[in-house]
Amino acid sequence: MKKRILVVDDEASLTRMIKRGLEAKGEYQVQEENSGERALVAARDFKPDLVLLDVMMPECDGGSIAADFEEADDLKHIPIVFLTAIVTREETDPCGTRIGRHTFLAKPVDLDDLVTCIKDHIGP
């Protein structure tokens, strides 16, 4: 059974590329969502095993979306990995840096590092 990954980022070309990259691995089923406001609806609909979430989006920031996930009983168990352009690769481990409950990955991220990070959270 393929793991389900929800990618929320306003940069459509990036979500497309992550979808392609992860799905090419054969182990993941990826859904893209380019609107932060629709992240919760998308998550309830898609029921992901993990969410890749952009930190800075035009209409709402990743932090408040993560807070909404935490408040929702049906979503709070889903691990969130932030993809962020505001920290640099050198400031995070290749497989993400945990800050509080969440993991941060610096953009641009290697596909292999992303896969390692996902496996860290939801297993192979």
């Binding site: 392609r20 352009a85 505001i86 640099t88 690769r89 641009p108 596909l111």
Partner: protein, 398 residues
């Protein structure tokens, strides 16, 4: 300005003549008094107007030697026109003693008064000159500060711009990176395509390094200033570049003064600055050379401060400073580039070898430590980076 300088040097030479100048002045005044005496005698006697010429050497003497000079010349003049000099020479009328005493009295009054006047004038001149020098100094400081403010404003606006640009550029970079990784794993590519993908990957990482510099540059986060031993920080920074030194055949010499005071620094940031300077030195010494790192604590001289291009106001001559010097034996920095070294995006390195942000980030960090960095060429060749830190109070509190 030149006229004033001419006047200044004339006043300086004659305001209080000493030695040879004093001897010349006394001889001239004595000769003038005697000359006027001779003139008075040969033109009719003390009742005639020529006698008034006697005031000239008296005033001159008072100007040069103040009150003693004025009184001395007045007494000499009184002696010259002594009671033996006739009132009317042609008629042989003797000069009454009262007449002589009155004239000598006038000489004394004029001599003493002029002496006082010149004493006052000299004091005023000195005061004005001091005020003028202070004004010039303030003007220079104001100009330096203004230049620094302009530079700071420039850097700040670049910093703000940088933060925005960094965010905007990282997203497309992320797309390229992800795309390259995807192609790399999905294509059954031959070596040529693989090479192209590797080059794109390297280019993305290089662009990311520039962004990293921009982000660092734009941050004004609070520093964690903790008293630390700069020698230790330098040594750990050197450990990190040891591999580069070996690869480039660069010998390392360290002269670290173990008695320097601790300095309040953000250890990581300062280490970043040192690594940056070491890497610049390594890159300047292609094919080998020698890197020398020294520390010492000393009182700063005017010469030390004169070498600073910015931040002069942070130190005064006589202040104690912990001084770190990093010297290389590379070709040095072209003279016309020296004043641009700390400008963002300025680089002397070939395209692709440097982001041009290293030194501007370093300077921002150094500025935040209230320290000063200066880079210059050495007469013996190579470049010298000097960083002046304010010592933490008390020696060796570590």
């Amino acid at each position: 300005m030149t006229d004033l300088q001419g006047l200044d040097s004339f006043v300086e030479r004659w305001r209080a003549p000493a030695g040879r100048h004093a001897a010349v002045a006394i001889a001239a005044i004595t000769a003038a008094v005697a000359g006027v005496g001779l003139l008075v005698y040969s033109t009719g006697g003390t009742a005639f107007a020529w006698l008034n010429l006697m005031y000239l050497p008296i005033v001159l003497s008072a100007a040069l030697f103040r009150i003693p000079g004025g009184i001395g010349a007045a007494l000499l003049a009184g002696l010259v026109i002594g009671p033996f000099m006739p009132l009317y020479v042609p008629r042989g009328i003797p000069q009454p003693a009262a007449n002589w005493m009155a004239r000598t009295g006038f000489f004394l009054i004029i001599g003493a008064f002029t002496g006082m006047l010149f004493t006052w004038l000299t004091a005023q001149y000195d005061r004005l000159k001091k005020a003028h020098e202070e004004l010039l100094q303030s003007h220079r400081q104001l100009r330096d500060t203004q230049m620094e403010l302009i530079q700071a404003a420039k850097l700040e606006s670049i910093g703000r711009l940088a933060a925005g640009v960094a965010h905007e550029v990282k997203n497309p970079l992320a797309v390229i990176q992800m795309g390259v990784d995807y192609l790399d794993t999905s294509l059954n590519a031959g070596p040529d395509v693989k090479e192209v993908l590797d080059e794109i990957d390297a280019a993305v990482k290089r662009a990311d390094a520039v962004i990293k510099g921009l982000v660092n540059f734009s941050r004004s986060e609070a520093l964690e200033l903790i008293p630390a031993d700069l020698n230790g920080i330098l040594e750990s920074a050197l450990n990190l570049v040891r591999h580069e030194l070996k690869t480039e055949h660069i010998t390392l010499e360290t002269r670290l003064d173990r008695s320097i005071s601790a300095v309040a620094v953000d250890r990581n940031k300062i280490q970043q600055v040192f690594i940056n300077l070491f890497m610049n030195a390594v890159q300047a010494m292609e094919g080998g050379g020698s890197l020398t790192v020294t520390t010492e604590q000393r009182k700063l001289s005017g010469e030390d401060l004169g070498r600073l291009s910015h931040g002069k106001q942070r130190f005064a001559a006589g202040d104690s400073a912990v001084v770190v010097e990093i010297t290389d034996t590379g070709p040095g920095i072209p003279e016309d580039k020296l004043d641009k070294l700390f400008d963002p995006f300025f680089t002397t390195k070939p395209v692709g070898k440097g982001t041009g942000l290293g030194l501007s980030v370093s300077r921002t960090i150094i500025d935040h430590h209230d320290a000063v960095i200066a880079i210059r060429n050495r007469e013996e060749g190579g470049a010298l980076a000097t960083i002046l830190f304010k010592p933490n109070r008390g020696r060796n509190p570590l």
